[in-house]
Amino acid sequence: MSRRTVEFTLATPGLDPQGRPVRTPLTGVRDDTADAGTVAVEPDFRGEHLLVNIGPQHPATHGVLRLVVELDGETVVRVIPHIGYLHSGFEKLGEYRHYNQIIPLTDRTDYLAPMANNVGVALAAEKLMGIEITPRCKVLRVIACEMSRIISHLVWLGTTSIDLGAFTPFLWAFQERERIYDLQEMWTGARLTTSLTRVGGLMADVPEGFVEGLRHFTRTFPRTLAEIDRVLTRSAVWAGRTQGIGVMTAEEAINYSLSGPMLRASGVPYDVRKDKPYLDYDTYDFEVPVGEHGDVYDRYLVRLEECHQANRILAQALDRLPDGPINVDDPRVILPPKSRAMSDMEAMIYHFKQVMEGIRAPVGEAYVGIENPKGELGNYFVSDGSAKPVRWRIRPPAFINLSALPKMAEGHLLSDLIAINASVDIVMGEVDR
């Protein structure tokens, strides 16, 4: 058996004269004239494929995702994802519940952005019933959605940077996220199970001190983003691990039904907030960042910029927050105050009917897509005229984005698979539902 020498380039990639990071392939180079600095390795392993099981309990899979990977050396030949470990049957449960009782289920789907899910399902139910919500409610829901976008993107940024070996941005991101969580807790009483919305309004108005707290956040948050930007964006290690990795062209991204930052990083300027506006998003002044290469690096840039834009929207929403009621004035939809339900006959009847029978929706169907941090979250209700939907379908953005993982990862190195999987921004509660 002949020995052969293989030369590995182990240095981190640097920058080329144009200032663009150079990515050096970590593949062995056959070199028969062995000299100092080359490593001699034992025989040729080419041709033997290895089966590696990653997960379901593995921190780099960001949840209970199991990937069965076929490897040729360190190169990924095939990825076979297995999901369903967190399947809870939310859609089935929804068929047995009133519309308002469905809202707590949505907290647990995309649990990194519960308030945005609450808004999505409430909007779909209101569309089905033809309810027009109040101006104050609209602005507060925008605030809820953009707060969710920031915390979700910060979790993504933190965990992805840890996956790729940068620890500090994780601490900064989670510190900022904690400030939003404090505000969220102040408003809804919960960090995760927010159940913020109701059909036709909100569970509660914002408490005293919330607006000032959020305004302070919007003023100070860009500083942290600038720090993260300074540490990561031009780092040779970060760029070398992410540029040219997991590329999806615009046509592929569309064909694979990607949505959200995944779609926009590939250069497709589609954002539900701009193209099918809900909650009056068309009246806010914000930009939609679009990438051009469709790789992990562009997805990072898109998400980082979306944090800036979400912050801008938050500032505008706080400026325009009108006074007035948060709930529609319709006793068939909104529960009367407890004091009236206990003293007024009519209010008590409405209270009883709503609690016992729920809100009846007219026969028909409605789909409302909203721009969640992960992508387009759709809620599709089909009603037969009763108080419980015949069918409640969640269009799960993370599930559909994850389905492109094999396409993106095949041909890359195993370590790049981790980067690609992180770049999808999955949350298994939503993938499995």
């Binding site: 089966l51 076929e70 089935k92 569309k127 569309i254 039904s257 015949v390 379908r393 994850l402």
Partner: protein, 206 residues
């Protein structure tokens, strides 16, 4: 109503059924199941239509047993910012299968697997039609069907018994075992069961 409906009627004639505007303002058009693949291909490829983006695929079963099952395709034209919902009706007693949309949109892959898993509707021509959310040996049926009880068909004790009895090798598919070349090392009876496609299936409850 979306003008695509008129264009569809002009091209496909009686393969296009009724059309209506849903409560969210989008157009829903019913298509005969046997022409579905052609219609979807046409909607994707025709320049003036260009429904290049598949938003979602799902199915609906009504509480009323008289009403057929529906497979729903949410299509979007990114150029024209237009949505269209295409529905196919499948009779309960009939053949619960439609042509797969994967050749047109790769994004339909997992969505159709989910519909198959949850409703038992098969997609002809799908490259890899396996269960996706439930495990492959799941024997209780299709959870989102109306005749499926909320707590499942088997008792909790039976579910636990089956879980404990499941064959750990069944967590790998035949395809995966062949990558590892582990197939030859398996005991003969397990090899036989795998070849029969049973993958560690446990017997029906007594």
């Amino acid at each position: 109503m979306n003008p695509t409906v008129e264009a569809l009627r002009a091209t496909f004639g009686d393969a296009i059924g009724r059309a209506a505007v849903a409560r969210d303002g989008e157009t829903v058009v019913y298509v005969r199941a046997d022409r579905l693949a052609e219609v979807l291909r046409w909607l994707h490829d025709t320049p003036g239509e260009a429904y290049t983006y598949l938003v979602d695929v799902t199915a609906v079963e009504y509480r009323d047993r008289e009403r057929p099952l529906e497979v729903v395709y949410f299509l979007r034209s990114l150029e024209r910012r237009m949505d269209l919902r295409v529905k196919v009706e499948l009779e309960h007693e009939g053949d619960l299968s439609v042509d797969s949309a994967v050749p047109v949109w790769r994004g339909a892959d997992w969505l159709e697997r989910e519909v198959y898993d949850m409703f038992g509707i098969t997609f002809r021509g799908h490259p890899d039609l396996r269960r996706i959310l439930m495990w492959e040996t799941y024997a209780e049926g299709h959870p989102l069907r109306k005749d499926f009880p909320l707590r499942g068909r088997f008792s909790r004790a039976e579910q636990v018994r089956q879980a404990l009895k499941a064959n750990p090798e069944a967590h790998y598919s035949m395809e995966e075992l062949s990558i590892a070349e582990a197939y030859e090392d398996l005991p003969a009876d397990m090899r036989e069961r795998l070849a029969r496609g049973e993958r560690g299936r446990v017997p029906e409850p007594e």
